[in-house]
Every structure is written in structure tokens, then in C-alpha cells.
Symmetry: C2
Subunit: 455 residues, 2 copies
């Protein structure tokens, strides 16, 4: 495994046992950094025999503590960072084969160099890894057009709990020879096996792209605009993000941005169309905006005329979490509901929060096209930050209770990890939980894979 394969000095382990936000931390026996899939399998075989818990880790960017060991100091961290080869890019088959430790941005770039597009895109793309993206079934801003990480892999190489190596780096679009093990391991958060490599789908490079910020009266109008955009643009609809005025206010106040629209609106949608054709998206978006203005769905719209303007529109949306920080404590939720229910959910949530937390400021934003809202609530202005955050569980219960009422999910894209493991037991269909436990027991009978996570 080479001299860099094992880190046992506590000082050198700090970057592995805590995560960048310091929201989760723990202790580890050591960090093992194998360089090949067979070595990963070998480490698992040893740990399985010895009954030592293994915490797989990629770029250490997960938000639910899935990649952090517990406080016992008896688990090891299995870092996949050294498995960083792009094994092959096959543009004619529209597939690339990459190892788990490849940084997402590097995978995107490798695709682009071959004249192809790998559409997974999220805030952490400069440091998160493909293995982590798959283990956590990452989402991001292009799910509406391309699906989540689970939809973007054709096959996997996986080291199993007992050290067997499952090799299914398939380049096939269709293969009906048995159970879909690929999608079972994807999103299992390292509890069923350790992904060491994957074959990923590639797409044609978008050659034209059009982006607009649309001012809207309310979430109902956002839903109407989304429905119209899907009907007119179909698969060319590459992103449909929403944010409320208060979110725009936060960004304008703290981040030296300027309002792209002449007057304020209560809600906004960021709409992007993309197409492999050389042109056409500008015209399509212009027509769509004209129709939505005529129908009274939209109040106003700003179409990006330059790359710089497009980046400016995206910044409004993407810097919202950062702009929320100077506003004091905030309590966050990563939830989804059926798309049709978003307006009702937002209205009921607002009323509920005002009743229990007078003055608290919800700034819900996110991937409306997928039904996924990041329901973040800033503290009342001037209130005590610690006192507000101390009521986090109460707030969580209000929001998650409402999510369940609408048949939604309490973790739309960030996963379960340590953060929501206890919550999962309360909200998930008991039969589904039993089936999940039966599968876990079948594939990891000694429970050495990422103990205490998810289940």
C-alpha cells in the first residue's frame, strides 16, 4: 500500500475526523488510504474478521455526518482519495470509467475534453468525489434534466464487507440480467459496500444556453411557470430554481450584488434552458417569457444577454446560504414534497412558524423543478442567536411534520448519515425499514460498514 497508506498520528488525522463545518467530528483508530480497489477489499476483509467498523470517506464534504467516525476511537476511516484515476473516457459509447476518489470537477472536465458533458453539478464540486457523490446519491442543480447521481451511473465496482470485489463496470444502457445492484449500492451511504469505481453516463455538450430571472407574485405563479416551461421546453429545461424576496434582500445587503429587475417581487424563479443545438434556446426562452407575461404568470423577467450576466443571475441563487450567515442563526431543512403541493406547503409552513417562532424569517429556496426545497429559517432580527438555535429540535419537528403531511421526504438530497438516523426510524414506512435492515444484514452481517449511519 506504500508508505502513505496509513495515517495513525492524531495530528495528521484532524482533516479526516472532523468535517469542514465542524458540525460532526469523532475519533479514529487510523486513516487507511489504499491506492487500488483490491487494497480496499483487503482492508475490508481484515476489518470484517476483526470486527472493526469502517467509515468510508471521499472528499469529506457530506452534510449529514455520514463520512465522520463516532467518538469511540475504535473505527477506522477508509479514505478513497488515492483511487483517483480516470480509467477511460469512451465518447462513442457516451461512458467514462472513473475511480471513487476522482474529484467531481475533474470528472466534468475530462468529459468536456472529450467533447461530452457530465451533468452532475453542485456547490462542493471542487472538492467532493465521485465515490461520495454516488454513495450519497448527490443531487444538485441539473436534476430536473438529468436526474440524480443514481441516474448517471451505468455500473459499479464495489468492495463488499467481507472483502469480495463486485465487478460490474458495465457500459451497457440496457441489461436485464438480474437485480439492479448498481442502484442499490448508490445512495446506501457506505453501509452496504464501498464503491471503488463507476461507469458514468455522458451526454452531448450543450452548445446553446439561455438563462433568465423571473419576478413572480407567489409560489403558485412559480408552479404555473414551471408547468409552462416543461410544456414548452421539455428536456431543454436544464434548471428551475426558486427563491423568495427575502433571499434576494440578504444577497443584496451582504454581497455587493445588484437587483437584475427594476422593482422587487415577492418570489423569483431562475430558469435555464440548454440544448446541444448551436442556437435556439434564446428564442425559446424569449417566447416562454413572453407567453408567461401575457398570461399574467410572470410579473417581470431579466434575460441574461452575456456570460457575465448569466453568472450574476446564478450568483443570486448560489450565494444565498452565505448571505444568510450575517443575518444570525439559521435552522435548515432539506425537504421535498410533490411538486403540486409546494405552494400549499410553503403557505402552511410560513403560518406554522410565525405561530411558534414569531418574527423568524423563512428563506426557502432551491430546486422547485424536483420538488426539493431547502427550507432554511433565519432567526428574528436582533433576537438571541443561541436561544433561537436551542429550539432547533422543535423547529425541525414542525417542518418535518408538515413535510410528512404532504407525503414528502425529510431528506431530499443530503441523505441520512448520523444527522437523521433517529428521525428516519420515526418517519419511514416500518415495512420499508424492515426490508432495508434485512438487506443490510444479508450484505454486512457483522455490521462493520459505516456503523451508526443511516440505519
Amino acid at each position: 500500500m506504500g508508505h502513505n497508506g496509513v495515517i495513525a498520528d492524531p495530528a495528521d488525522m484532524i482533516g479526516y475526523v472532523t468535517e469542514p463545518r465542524d458540525a460532526f467530528h469523532g475519533r479514529a483508530l487510523c486513516v487507511v488510504r489504499p491506492g487500488r480497489a483490491e487494497e480496499v477489499a483487503g482492508v475490508l476483509a481484515l476489518c470484517n474478521d476483526a470486527g472493526v467498523g469502517v467509515v468510508p470517506q471521499g472528499g469529506n464534504t457530506g452534510l449529514v455526518g455520514g463520512q465522520t467516525p463516532d467518538e469511540s476511537g475504535e473505527q477506522i476511516i477508509l479514505s478513497l482519495q488515492r483511487l483517483d484515476r480516470i480509467r477511460e473516457v469512451d465518447p462513442a459509447s457516451d461512458v467514462m470509467t472513473v475511480e471513487a476518489g476522482v474529484i467531481l470537477a475533474r470528472a466534468q472536465q475530462a468529459a468536456e475534453e472529450a467533447g461530452r458533458y457530465f451533468p452532475l453539478s453542485l456547490a462542493a464540486e471542487g472538492s467532493c468525489t465521485i465515490g461520495g457523490n454516488l454513495a450519497a446519491n448527490a443531487g444538485g442543480v441539473h436534476v430536473i434534466a438529468y436526474g440524480t447521481a443514481r441516474d448517471l451511473a451505468l455500473g459499479l465496482e464495489v468492495a463488499l464487507a467481507d472483502g469480495r470485489l463486485l465487478s460490474n463496470l458495465s457500459k451497457l444502457r440496457k441489461d436485464n440480467t438480474g437485480y439492479d445492484l448498481t442502484r442499490l449500492f448508490i445512495g446506501s451511504e457506505g453501509t452496504l459496500g464501498v464503491i471503488t469505481a463507476a461507469t458514468l453516463k455522458l451526454f452531448p455538450l450543450p452548445r446553446s444556453r439561455a438563462t433568465a430571472l423571473v419576478g413572480l407574485a407567489d409560489p403558485q405563479a412559480a408552479l404555473a411557470l414551471l408547468t409552462l416551461a416543461k410544456a414548452r421546453a421539455g428536456a431543454a429545461l436544464a434548471a428551475f430554481e426558486v427563491l423568495p424576496r427575502i433571499g434576494v434582500d440578504f444577497v443584496l445587503r451582504h454581497l455587493a450584488a445588484r437587483d437584475p429587475l427594476a422593482s422587487p417581487h415577492r418570489w423569483y424563479a431562475l430558469v435555464e434552458l440548454a440544448s446541444p443545438a448551436e442556437s435556439g434556446t434564446d428564442e425559446l426562452l424569449t417566447d416562454l417569457l413572453a407567453e408567461s407575461l401575457e398570461q399574467g404568470v410572470a410579473e417581470d423577467a431579466a434575460l441574461a444577454a452575456t456570460l457575465e450576466q448569466r453568472a450574476g443571475l446564478w450568483r443570486l441563487r448560489e450565494t444565498l446560504p452565505e448571505a444568510q450567515k450575517p443575518e444570525g442563526g439559521s435552522i435548515k431543512h432539506d425537504v421535498s414534497v410533490p411538486i403540486e403541493s409546494i405552494p400549499a406547503f410553503l403557505a402552511e409552513a410560513e403560518a406554522l412558524i410565525q405561530r411558534h417562532f414569531p418574527g423568524a424569517r423563512p428563506a426557502p429556496f432551491g430546486h422547485m423543478g424536483d420538488g426539493n426545497i431547502h427550507y432554511n429559517i433565519s432567526q428574528p432580527p436582533g433576537a438571541d442567536r443561541a436561544a433561537f438555535l436551542a429550539r432547533r429540535d422543535e423547529m425541525n419537528e414542525l417542518v418535518h411534520g408538515l413535510v410528512r403531511k404532504f407525503g414528502g421526504s425529510v431528506s431530499a438530497e443530503h441523505g441520512v448519515g448520523r444527522l437523521k438516523r433517529d428521525l428516519l426510524r420515526k418517519v419511514k414506512d416500518p415495512v420499508a425499514l424492515e426490508v432495508m435492515r434485512a438487506i443490510k444484514q444479508a450484505l454486512d452481517p457483522k455490521g462493520v460498514l459505516n456503523p451508526g449511519k443511516l440505519l
Copy 2:
């Protein structure tokens, strides 16, 4: 369950114990036809207790014997046909909830009546059921744009072997709360549970559509055309089917069709673009064809100018299996290889077959956009039909051996069932088989679900 719930008279069972082609048949204790999911679960609980094998059956159109009981007469057939309610169509969320026994064509129609599109489309759509489509992970002609049945469901209701009912009729596009049980049950051919209902994704209705038949020199040209079509049309590429001249000859000879192109070509591609926009696909396809003619990729092309002409082009492709019948015995294979490898695979297969079966006539056709070729071989003209068919195993071994060499699948879309169960043991990664068996054991420890199928 009502007076029609059980059929025990052998005469009345004939339509259930044999399949329409009579390729597979068996005997059954009885046919049970529950009308509600809870009744399905109740039947399974009883059979699990008694150790009686259960063969789930939908429209009885499967091609690999998955829906037929064995010859023991000790299994029951569990028909899902009476679970035929469309529970809800929710166009704003782009989801419909349908029961397992709903005929595919009826589901398509329900979507269309709500102004939406359900893209699953295959030859048996007038009689196959959604439950069967999901259990078998059906493919069809629009996989290139919309994926297989596995990609088209958001959630399932499943009766488990011991009679528990798993309820996850989710309308969510994103839900990262645990293992992907939905996709595990889809494609498991009734061996892990019995699907009783599903939430299915809906899409915008295509409002413009353009179709062309393109004459090509060889499969390499077909691959170049496919690559160009993906680059220019992206997600608007709704179908890319190929067929060889001999297939066109068969259709022209036996089915009173006419050749849409002025002179014969060695290979053909049927290319269809579709878009929710009111227009644009005709122009896009015209440009694509012009570019492919200029580049020497295509030799000639006929663009359908009317609905009738479009239907005529599709008939050429869809009637090929029927037109092959008067040519004598044929041996069929449902295989896939990486898209890039299709030309090499076809060349090597042709040479191999001529060496071992001089005069035999391969007429490979199908879903080139998915890498899925129906590699069907007609007997040599005038040869003895029975003698040719008697060498089926030998032919299968040649073709499947070559498929494996190219990293392909011996069952791209038809599944495993009874037909390919023994084959699976030989070709599948042994670790993948072990994992599949462990999951089967965990979910159906007494082995009552579709015994003798798949595993």
C-alpha cells in the same frame, strides 16, 4: 375476493398456464385473481405458510417464461389483472398512480387525456400490464430518450413474500432516505415481491415529431449518424433504430410494403425526433440529414411528410419479426453491447455464423441508440427448418460468447425468466450472483416467490 377470485377448472386455466406463443407452458394448482393489494398480500401470507410457490402474472406477454408455472402442478398463478384501477393522474406533479393490472396502452391514454405523455411503448402494449412491465423492467423504442421502465417509476406498492405490504407510492423526484427499494423490485421478475401499484413519471406531450429512414453503407455509418444525431438533437432524439437490407427485403417480399428509398442500401436507420414545442423538429431533422449527407455519413434519406408516411416507416421496422416467419426457422437473441462496439460485434458475428452455419441469414435489428440488438438469424433458404432449429444451443453459444467478449448482456430487455436462468449462472459475475442470492434469501427465505425463475 368474490366468486371470480379463484379458477381451479383446468379448462379455464389454459389461458394462464400457457403463453400466447406456446413457447412455455406448465400446470398450476389454481389461478387466484385478487382484486385489491391487501388480498394479494393475504394470498402470499397463506402460500408462504404452506410453502406453495406463487407465479405472479400480468398480461402473460413475457418472452422468457417468467410468468408461466412449472410442470409440477404444485404452484399457483397469482393474476394481477383485476387490480386495474388508475388511482390518480396528477398532471401538476407529473405523476400518475396505477395498479399493476392496468394495460400499458390504457395508462398511456390516461396520461394523454390529462395532457401528459407516458413514454413506455412496446409491441405488446395493447395487452401487457404495468405490473409486468415493471417486474420485467420493460424497454421498447423510446428508451434512448426516456429510459426503461425502471427509470419511469417513482414509487411502488409491493406485497412481500410473507404477506407484509410495503407502501411507498411516492410522488417525489428526490428522496434520499435510505436504499432504493423501488428499483430493486423493478426488474426482479416477481422473485422478491409482487408489485401491486406504482407511481409513474409523466412528461410533456410531444407536439412536434419528425421521422426519417436513412440509407447507410454499414453499421459504422450508423454509429456515426447516431453520434451526430445525439450531438445535434440531444434529448429530442426519441428513437434510433437500425435494420439491415435483408430485413427490408423480408418486409417488402411478404407484407405488401414499398421501399421508401429509390435504391437499396446495405443498412438503414429509423430516426425520430420529438419535442414539446409546436414546431422545429422537421427543420432540425432536415438539417441533421443534410449534414450527414454532406459528410458522407448517410447515402440517402426519406423524411416522412405525412402521418401516413411516418406510420409506413415505422411499419418497416416493426413488422420485421413477422416478415421473418415465412423465411423459415429463426433463432433469436436479445443482446446489448457498448454502443461503440456495435459495428465490430456485427462484423464478427456475421463471420462466425457463416463459418459454423453456412448460408444462415442474420437479420440483426433494433435499438442501436441503447446498444440493444435483436440478433435474429433466419435459416439458410431451402434448408431443413427442424435441423436448423435443433442447433439452437450451438448458435446461442456462438452469439452469447461474442457478446461476452464485448462486455455485453445476454438479455438486454426481455429478462431471464425460465429461458436464461441456466445461462445466467454461466455468464454473470459470480460475486454479483452471490449478492443477488443473499438478497433473495433475505426477502423470500422460503423461496415461494416465482420459484425457478431468474436465480
